[in-house]
């Protein structure tokens, strides 16, 4: 869902940049207070994993593919603030080094996938977690993954519409529709990784305490 250069108007570019980098500063502060030593290597591993996973597009319907965003995966392991930072680092490197996603759209891409993806996903995950059984955790992860993808798609639609490139009534149903399917892929992949981690290293799961 990386928005390329040329889609967004100057006002959308500036406002999304302002919001994104403001939130990133806030997350840097918050993540520092909640960081545990064991999370340092995990941040590296998660960055590498999400970068690699975002390259592997899977087909959803004929002629359309999707890829893991990894926002909920990161949020469940690193907490919401650490996750925003990790996904942002991946997006920044993709944009500046690998020309994936526009430089002018970087603020919007960080806002959609890192900020909204991680925060909405973590909120849903916590809300769905009424028991600490594996089944309950995986249900929360699946629901959160799907909603995080839809939240990103909603934000991207709004940004495109505000940029005047396409009417909202046209882009919103199309984006929400196709990302409802991509979100299922996100949910399945995130659940696979988390269920594996719950089996071998349950201590890696993030907890507030």
């Amino acid at each position: 869902m990386h928005i390329p250069d040329g889609f967004l108007s100057a006002s959308v570019v500036l406002s999304t940049c302002a919001v994104s980098f403001g939130v990133l500063g806030f997350c840097l502060k918050k993540a520092a207070t909640r960081l545990k030593d064991r999370m340092v290597p995990l941040m590296g591993v998660m960055s590498a994993f999400i970068f690699a996973a975002q390259m592997l597009n899977f087909p959803v319907v004929s002629g359309t593919s999707g890829h893991l965003i990894g926002a909920v995966l990161a949020a469940v392991l690193l907490g919401p603030f650490g996750a925003v930072l990790v996904v942002s680092v991946v997006l920044i490197a993709q944009c500046l080094i690998f020309q994936d996603g526009g430089v002018t759209a970087l603020g919007a891409n960080i806002l959609n996938m890192a900020v909204l993806g991680c925060l909405s996903g973590y909120f849903v995950y916590k809300a769905a977690l009424w028991r600490k059984t594996h089944g309950c955790i995986l249900f929360g992860v699946a629901l959160a993954s799907w909603i995080s993808v839809e939240a990103s798609a909603l934000a991207a639609s709004l940004e495109l519409a505000f940029s005047g490139i396409v009417p909202l009534g046209m882009v919103l149903p199309a984006m929400i529709g196709i990302h409802a399917l991509i979100g299922i892929g996100e949910a399945i992949l995130t659940c696979l990784v988390i269920s594996f981690i719950l089996k071998v290293r349950p201590d890696l799961m993030y907890s507030d305490s």
Binding site: P4, A32, D37, L42, M43, L56, F98
Partner: protein, 77 residues
């Protein structure tokens, strides 16, 4: 996480990329497809990752992630 675990996971990610990247879907992703259908896709280049850039990026991102973690650790109140 022990050093051995980290090396193992990174190696695993690289092997995964090596196997799966040639089979990754070349179809446009959700946003590109919508842009195509709704007629606002102005000739945007598809990044088209090579295996080399994938492996390089994976290691680079690991270092960036750890670097950020260490930075946060130093800033910890």
């Amino acid at each position: 996480m022990r050093k051995r675990d980290i090396v193992f996971i990174l190696f695993f990610i690289c092997v995964f990329l090596f196997i799966l990247l040639p089979h990754a879907s070349e179809w446009p992703d959700g946003l590109e497809r919508v842009a195509q259908d709704k007629g606002f896709l102005h000739k945007t280049e598809n990044a088209g990752f090579s295996l080399g850039s994938g492996l390089f990026g994976t290691l680079l991102l690991f270092l960036l992630g750890v670097g950020m973690g260490l930075l946060l650790k130093n800033k910890r109140p």
